[in-house]
Every structure is written in structure tokens, then in C-alpha cells.
Symmetry: C2
Subunit: 187 residues, 2 copies
DNA sequence: CCGCCTTAGTCGCATTGTTGAGTAGGTGCG
DNA sequence: CGCACCTACTCAACAATGCGACTAAGGCGG
């Protein structure tokens, strides 16, 4: 149900093809609503049928044709209504690693250490990408200047959410690694 | 697929009924793997059929009978194997509020403010419960003492993950509220 | 010039997850 | 003494998600 609105929100940035959206979902939206390309294409189909987005086929010479999608007025109204009402359900996190940590005490500490280090590396990567996006948005301005001058603060605030989340992740990884080191000192 | 291991991990704490597990999932496991009672009962059924857990019917006089579940040796081995291998997919967050924030710029700021305040209140509640659980675990000891004396650090580390996550949530809420105040000053 | 990568998707089934209701006795509250 | 809530589940139906492969063309490196 919410994938629908995630897609509509992504189209606030302007016209995009399904393929482009699947890239956007990978890097920025994936932060708070992950999905596979297949899900996206399906959702776009539905949204177009419901008149919330409009499709326009772009013929290409040396590439497969693509369909570019834009928000319709109806879509924008639907999205605005969604954005103004309280979430039906709280945040859901699905984190396999945490299950593995919960059950770590029956397992070789070195194996666990490897998992946590992998997660840490991944978080550092995400963080670096988020920060580059932030630099691009700020374009040399301070945050205060940016916030005064831009007309859309939403994407900036969700980006900062992603940055905070990954920073917290890294702190947690460090903590876990410290505990692991104390448990099995100087393996 | 992972709900299975979340359940097995929960049973590391000892024998439990489906009903008890559904409570546990509400308060502690919900932190990183949410599920409804219905899902749990289905999963327990499957796990019992696969021989990973064992059921024992407890007749009760003034209550409906209940089935208590324990991990079998096979279940423990399966869980240990799971816990030692890298997660197939990265963390997935599903947060409707962030979609609403992403799309907030078409919406009355007071409506958005209300959503964020609600989230903040909810996070504070979760945090309070997490901290009570932590106090109970520590039982007056310092963290270092606790970690030296306990045989299972996994549950403590996931708990600290939950605490860090909610703290980060609160910081983010504050940040969003500050921006909202600056945008619509002294409404 | 062979094989792999990228663009731009599509198909279909299998697994998961969600919704809503039903059962059935016991407990506590005013 | 009536009503709501708690324990302890079960069932059916449906919606959402995931998995894996498939098409089809051009580009690029060795």
C-alpha cells in the first residue's frame, strides 16, 4: 500500500522512467522503503491505470523504448492527503543481522566478528554516498542558507534521517566489536 | 524465511507458548523483526513439523490449554548455522512517516508537525521500556560487570541496538521540528 | 568476434504478510 | 449482573513481496 506513495513521492522530483526509478530506489528511497524493480514496474502499471500518473512512450534509436512517467493532478492530491494523515502502523525494521546477533552466543566469535565488520563497511559506503548527495544539495551553502532558499525541505530531512541512521549503525557496530574483543581477547 | 530464525532465537530464552512469544515479539523482538500473532502460530506449526521445535500440551484448569515449545537439538544446530552465515539481504526499513516527510512540502506544516510529535512520543515510550529492560538485566551491576558475568551477550547487544535506534529517532524528530518552526515561525 | 555489462523492461509462481473474524472460558470493575 | 478485557489460540481469504529467469539491443575490453 505504501509503495504506491513512495513512487508518487519519487515522482515529485520530476518525470522519470521505471528504470530510473529503480535506480533512485536503490540509492535514496531505499533508505526507508526498499523495493525490487519488478515491484516498481507493477506499481507503475497500477498507478497509470488509476490515473495517478501519466505515461509517455519515448522512442529511442539505439536503446529500447522507454516510458516516462509524471504525476497527474489527481496523483498529487492523493499524495498530499496521504502525507497529512498519521501512519497506520509504526516503523518496521527487518534486520537479519540482529537475529544473528541475538543468537550469536552459540557461534564462533570470529564468524560473528566478520558479519559485523561487513555491516560496518556497508554502512560506511552508504554514509559516503549520502554525504555526497548532501554536498550536492547544499552546493557550498550552509544548511541554514540551503533551508531558507529551497522550496522542498522534505527530501533533505529524509536524507538527514538516512545519515543519522547509518551513523548510529556504525556506532553500534563499534560497540559490538569492542564486546567481542573483550570476550575473546587477542584471538 | 527469517521469521523462522527469529522464533528459534526467541526460544533460546527457554520454553514458551505461542501466546507468550507473541508478547515477546511485541516488546523486544519487534525491535528488529515485527510479526503478528497469526504469523507466529503458523511458523510454530511449521517448525514443529520440521522437528526444529517440540510442542508439549499443558492442560490448565481455569484457562484454555496451551502448547509450550522448546528448541530441539536440530533446531539449535539450524539456528547456529544461520547465525554464522552472512545475511542474504541488507537491512530493510519500512517507515511510512519518512514517505510522508519526503512529500511534506505540499502539506500544511501543522499537520506534519503533529505527525512528527506523535512519532517522538512513541519513541520516548519505547525507549523507556527498553531502558527498564536494561536495568533489569544489569541488576545494579555496571555494564562491564554484567558482560563479564553473563553467558549470553547477544540479547544485550540487540537491546542496545534498539536503544540507539530510538535515541537516533528522537534526535531526528527534534531536528525536523526545528526546521518546521523556522519555516513557519510563531504560527 | 566472444562474452559480459548496461539499458529497459516482462512473466509467473511461490512465499510472506495482513485483515478480520471466530471460539471459549475466566477475571475484574462498578 | 453485565460488559469489557485477558488468555490462548484457529481459520480463511487476500494483498504484497520476492525469486529467478527471459527478451532484446548496443557497448566495450581483450
Amino acid at each position: 500500500m505504501s509503495l504506491k506513495y513512495a513512487v508518487l513521492a519519487a515522482l515529485l522530483e520530476g518525470e522519470a522512467s521505471g528504470y530510473e526509478l529503480s535506480k533512485v530506489f536503490d540509492v535514496s528511497l531505499a533508505n526507508f522503503w526498499a523495493s525490487t524493480p519488478q515491484q516498481l514496474y507493477r506499481e507503475l502499471e497500477r498507478l497509470a491505470q488509476d490515473g495517478l500518473i501519466e505515461a509517455r512512450v519515448v522512442r529511442q534509436e539505439r536503446r529500447p523504448d522507454k516510458r516516462m512517467f509524471t504525476l497527474t493532478e489527481a496523483g498529487r492530491r492523493d499524495l498530499d492527503a496521504f502525507a497529512a494523515t498519521p501512519p497506520r502502523r509504526p516503523t518496521a525494521i527487518r534486520d537479519e543481522l540482529l537475529i544473528k546477533i541475538q543468537a550469536m552466543d552459540g557461534v564462533d566469535p570470529d564468524a560473528t566478528r566478520a558479519l559485523v565488520e561487513e555491516r560496518g563497511a556497508w554502512s560506511r559506503g552508504k554514509l559516503a554516498r549520502y554525504r555526497r548527495v548532501r554536498e550536492r544539495l547544499l552546493a557550498g551553502r550552509t544548511e541554514a542558507e540551503y533551508l531558507r532558499e529551497t522550496d522542498r525541505v522534505g527530501p533533505y530531512l529524509t536524507l538527514m534521517g538516512g545519515i543519522g541512521f547509518e551513523e548510529e549503525n556504525l556506532r553500534w557496530c563499534e560497540r559490538v566489536l569492542t564486546v567481542l574483543r573483550q570476550r575473546a581477547p587477542l584471538g
